[in-house]
């Protein structure tokens, strides 16, 4: 599956040595939610080692291993990037940076931005200096994203932006936003543009939304007469929809490949054995055992599919049709896992807070609530299924 030539062996050895020498000990332990390395100008580092680790990795461009060196990236080949991944996994190194800039914005800047814009933004993304948020959804434009209404008027020497976004992830903590705006009200898709601006610009107001899990990772974000330099539009005027779609692909791939994960990191069959009991080594509740097993098999089928899609992509065939189902499958699977987890935990999984409940169990319960967003964020499952039906299977709309 990979060409382990002599050159690559050298790279592996060097990488291993470098990681051994540079990855702080505390960065080789499981990451807690509090220590998530989001970076950015206003970020408070819970653990100073996280900052050290980021700086060392960014220095080599390894926060974005395959981006060109010209823009601060690592300039690695796919094979080298895989080696880096493997070697980091070997020592259980934490990711040095969590970043919408790396996962979503960067790839489209590389594709659509002008040289000036690339030079201005990509290196800062690599170094985690600027934290980005995504201004896409609006109260009236969720699944129908192209129905967005946030106005962007050309005022000669600047753009003037007025409107409201919603589900802006961490907008209250972000430094800059990449934002879809309406620059032509007479058209739908062809009236949308893609702009970047500083969240400290006067007229920007981000208000956290409290979710059912108790957390507030998203904001309602209001724009009132926000002035944006005209050089901060990416691509052409009214040409933002293509960029928007491409970025959504990166978002979905990123979501899918991770399979959403389980926050508390518990294995469901162990939870069941612990809470339900065992009968000859089997989970004592035969009904639950059967459903857990079916789920575990689905999870394995999913991870094998992610592996297959990656292998196919690396073989140079590009993304096959299987890639299109990953987001939907990942959401379904993760939600099912958490439902089974709660069921297995019984009353131990019913705690919100306080005495009487194990902290790990409470985290799992919050993760269950959080997982309900999986089939909504980054395109609902309904939209995903529409897309598969139309783009992949070639089914038509009513004529």
């Amino acid at each position: 599956m990979a060409d382990f030539g002599a050159e690559l062996d050298v790279f592996r050895t060097e990488t291993r040595d470098w990681l051994e020498a540079n990855c702080p000990a505390s960065m080789r332990t499981p990451m807690t939610a509090e220590e998530t390395p989001w970076g950015g100008a206003r970020f408070k580092w819970a653990n100073p080692d996280s900052k050290t680790w980021l700086d060392r990795m960014a220095e080599k461009g390894w926060t974005a291993p395959m981006w060109p060196k010209d823009y601060g990236g690592g300039g690695l080949t796919a094979a080298q990037a895989r080696v880096l991944e493997q070697e980091m996994a070997r020592i259980k190194a934490r990711p040095p940076l969590f970043s919408f800039g790396i996962w979503m914005l960067g790839p489209v800047l590389l594709e659509y931005a002008n040289e000036e814009q690339k030079k201005a933004h990509l290196p800062k993304i690599v170094r985690g200096e600027i934290r980005w948020c995504q201004g896409y959804s609006e109260p009236g434009a969720g699944s129908d994203l192209a129905g967005l209404q946030t106005r962007c008027e050309d005022k000669g020497d600047h753009f003037l932006i007025n409107g409201q976004k919603v589900w802006t992830s961490y907008a209250d903590q972000a430094d800059w936003i990449f934002c879809l705006v309406r620059t032509d009200t007479t058209k739908k898709h062809e009236g949308i543009s893609f702009v970047l601006f500083d969240m400290t610009t006067p007229g920007v107001d981000a208000r956290p939304i409290k979710l059912i899990s108790g957390e507030s990772p998203f904001c309602e974000t209001f724009f009132t007469d926000v002035k944006v330099p005209k050089a901060q539009m990416v691509g052409k005027l009214n040409g933002g929809w293509d960029i928007a779609k491409r970025l959504l692909q990166f978002e979905r791939q990123n979501i899918s490949a991770g399979g959403f994960g389980g926050a508390a990191g518990l294995e469901i069959e162990e939870v069941a054995l612990a809470h339900v009991g065992a009968d000859n080594g089997k989970i004592a509740d035969g009904d639950l055992r059967a459903r857990i097993t079916a789920h575990k098999m689905d999870a394995k089928a999913f991870s094998l599919t992610v592996r297959r899609v990656e292998a196919e992509a690396k073989s140079g065939k590009g993304l096959g049709p299987a890639a299109s189902i990953l987001k939907y499958a990942a959401a379904t699977l993760n939600q099912h896992k958490h439902e089974l987890m709660l069921e297995a935990m019984g009353s131990d999984g019913l705690g919100w807070d306080g005495e009487g409940f194990d902290r790990a169990n409470i985290r799992e319960t919050r993760a269950w609530l959080r997982s309900k967003g999986n089939s909504i964020e980054g395109g609902t499952s309904e939209i995903n299924l529409n897309v598969v039906a139309k783009r992949v299977l070639g089914l038509m709309d009513h004529q």
Partner: protein
């Protein structure tokens, strides 16, 4: 739609009106946001519930109740379930009252059922000790003393137990967990010596508590030999069916909220309810609701009729109510999209309550297994 007699129709309509007026979902939110989850209810609302006679629906007229039966109490609980109204009604007037009714001595009925019917006290039923409902596994120990019994052990996640004036406790006088013959029921008064309650902050913001008994004085429920496994099983059937009725109301309301949204929210220039995939999902959810309603009705009717089919019908009702409420509350989130994920929307409250209600009195797995055993396979 259901066939009700005149008293039942009046009772239901009264409950519907009162709940909409006095116990909307905002009441639960208020309770939550003011730390009221510890006691689990608003005393003024509880007083009104009692005044409307809800605490005495299954209590014989001789003890001050209306003796309308289980189906009637189910109608009230269905209405309270619609808005997630928090109160000790189920614990007191369904669970504990059933135990007293089925197993109590005349004196015990006289003492306690009357006070329950009058709304003077709240009560709870304490059975489970681990994370899953498993009544045969009771381990809490009951030892005979000069004046009665002494209980030692723990109970886990007991609804409305922390503030209860009376707790009906399942305990073991002999044998090991799993041996049902050694189980008896006991009465313990709130604040009894050696009784410690730890209120739990659960996801449904209702009052649940862990109980610890350290040589706590208790009175045997029933005459000399006491009320054992048969009374406990029959009590659990009643508590379970009535919880299923409440869940039915919760699921029905979730569905109605979904339906409203499908008829008002637009995307792509269309009402989202005009999308066929959502139409089919709504129709399937409606189907499940109708099937579940038949099961809940049948279980309560069977309890009122004293039918030997009651245990199987109760397990059917609870299993279906569990599944349908999960489906309805999860669809409530999904059909609302991002809005459904916000704390400001009610969907999360319904979904959280669904999980708690499933765990209480037996998961779907538990009741399916029981149904199969009763059917001989």
């Amino acid at each position: 739609m259901a066939i009700l007699n005149e008293e039942q129709t009046m009772l239901r309509d009264a409950a519907k009106g009162w709940v909409a007026d006095k116990a909307p979902v905002t009441a639960l939110r208020k309770l939550r946001d003011t730390g009221g989850w510890k006691t689990g209810y608003d005393p003024a609302a509880w007083k009104e519930m009692a005044e409307m006679g809800w605490t005495g629906v299954i209590v014989p007229e001789a003890y001050g109740g209306s003796e309308f039966g289980y189906r009637s109490l189910g109608l009230v609980l269905e209405e309270t379930g619609r808005t997630l109204a928090a109160s000790p009604l189920h614990a007191t007037a369904a669970a504990a009252a059933s135990a007293l009714l089925l197993g109590g001595s005349d004196a015990q009925k006289e003492t306690w059922l009357g006070r329950i019917a009058a709304g003077e006290i709240t009560a709870a039923l304490a059975v489970d000790e681990g994370p899953h409902h498993h009544p045969g596994s009771v381990a809490l120990k009951a030892e005979k003393t000069a004046t009665g019994y002494s209980l030692t052990g723990t109970k886990r996640f007991i609804p409305d137990a922390a503030e209860a004036d009376l707790v009906v406790v399942a305990a073991r006088v002999s044998g090991a967990p799993g041996d049902t013959a050694g189980i008896r029921l006991f009465l313990v008064t709130g604040g009894a010596a050696g009784l410690t309650a730890t209120p739990l902050h659960a996801i449904d913001n209702r009052a649940h508590a862990d109980l610890a008994f350290a040589a706590t004085p208790a009175e045997l429920l029933g005459e000399t030999t006491g009320a054992g496994w048969d009374v406990l099983s029959a009590t659990l059937d009643r508590a379970t069916a009535l919880l299923a009725a409440e869940m039915m109301g919760t699921a029905t309301q979730a569905f109605e909220v979904i339906l409203d949204y499908l008829k008002t929210r637009t995307q792509f220039g269309q009402l989202i309810g005009s999308f066929q995939a959502l139409q089919h999902r709504a129709a399937k959810l409606f189907t499940e609701l109708e099937l579940t309603r038949s099961c809940v009705d049948a279980a309560l009717d069977a309890l009122d009729a004293g039918s030997k089919d009651a245990p199987a019908l109760v397990s059917l009702a609870k299993a279906k109510a569990n599944e349908t409420l999960h489906l309805a509350s999860i669809e409530m989130v999904q059909m609302h999209g991002g809005i459904g994920m916000t704390d400001a929307h009610d969907a999360g409250l319904y979904m959280k309550r669904a999980r708690v209600a499933e765990a209480l009195y037996g998961s779907s797995s538990y009741h399916r297994d029981r149904y199969a055993k009763l059917g001989g396979y």
